[in-house]
Symmetry: C2
Subunit: 219 residues, 2 copies
Amino acid sequence: MTQAAKKPSSASEAVVESVRERRRARTRDDIEATALGLFLERGYGATTIEDIAEAALISPRTFFRYFASKEDLLLARGRDKMALAARSLGERPPHEPVMDSLRGMLGVFAALHSTDRDRELAWMRLVTTTPRLAAGFLEMVHGMELVLRDFMALRLGVEAGHRRPRLVSAAVGTAFRVAAEMWHDSDGAEEMTVLVRENVETLVAPLLETWTGPARTSC
Amino acid sequence: MTQAAKKPSSASEAVVESVRERRRARTRDDIEATALGLFLERGYGATTIEDIAEAALISPRTFFRYFASKEDLLLARGRDKMALAARSLGERPPHEPVMDSLRGMLGVFAALHSTDRDRELAWMRLVTTTPRLAAGFLEMVHGMELVLRDFMALRLGVEAGHRRPRLVSAAVGTAFRVAAEMWHDSDGAEEMTVLVRENVETLVAPLLETWTGPARTSC
DNA sequence: TGGCTTTTTGGCAGCTTGTGTCATAGTGAC
DNA sequence: GTCACTATGACACAAGCTGCCAAAAAGCCA
């Protein structure tokens, strides 16, 4: 169920999705877009699953076959993007300076970012202004931090439970989160990617400098 | 409803709560303790409001007169503690070095901290292992950051929307959060307060040093 | 003590989210 | 065209949560 198409029937060898999978993805996108429209129109809380199902021409039961919850509908995409960006660190050359790897990750994230700025802004507004979603957003960033932590442990040469990978990965997540807040509050005036990069430079770079070089002390 | 006792009937002038208020507080504590016991025994998800109500000798309807939700039951106390600690910054001398104010805040927080270590550990385990609660915990810290942000804006002499108060307050919150994770993962072996202090020194101090002194540049 | 006012509580009815189950319709593979 | 698998819809149902109203309890005043 979770696995991708394992046997490409055509000659092409790229990610060939079966017809079913593509159809499923299209339905999923359709539900998502429909729901987002309703949310922006009436608000998150005032829109029921039944409303969404009706507007998307599916049954309420079917909704839950595409999304684990109403919350998931809005957060899944962001979660995937973040996880993908974080995991891309694994393909970085092992001896590259950590800051360079992070900059590379930002590039991956930027490439994944939707070009529809207004839509992203609306999404961000919805997510940050609805308490339950805001909590979910923070958890989403936290999930990315967990992936980052293992990477940092590897690069810093200590176990993941140590303070350094914990603090560094949390700092990166914080840089992301604060950038998102700034981007939203400025109505998208500044480029999100730039904001993230600046925050990482400010918050993470000094932290790494003290550790990647001479440090080999306690904790 | 939300206001405290305004007319103390006795001569004492401290925070005199009416009999009703004290009774209410006692019932609230009672429900909380009962529920925590059930959660630890059967798990958060496997314990229903009805179970809690029955064990606490109240009706399910009454439960919601004491707590906004099942989640709130576990998070309200922590939220209050953090808000109290953060707000205590307002009573600090205005020209005190920011790091000293933060250390003072940690003292307030430590004083509020329960002496029952096992109970706090169990609470932390419950909250961090239950996804929905974990998200709520993160939001709780985020709430503290919002209070911190205004304070930082004041001290740094810029508006709250600027990058510096944002990053510094978020860094403090992150220091808190990571300390909580470390404390939990180490089974409370290290003192929570110490962990927070060390994280603040590592993450926040360098950030402040670059800004409180010479800095008066752009952002 | 007795009566009045306010708060607290319980019960009920109802909405919403989310899940298990089963039958049915659609689709792809051969 | 048949067979197997998947997607869907239609229940039924548990649990969280809210509004509403009536009853009980608690404080208050004479």
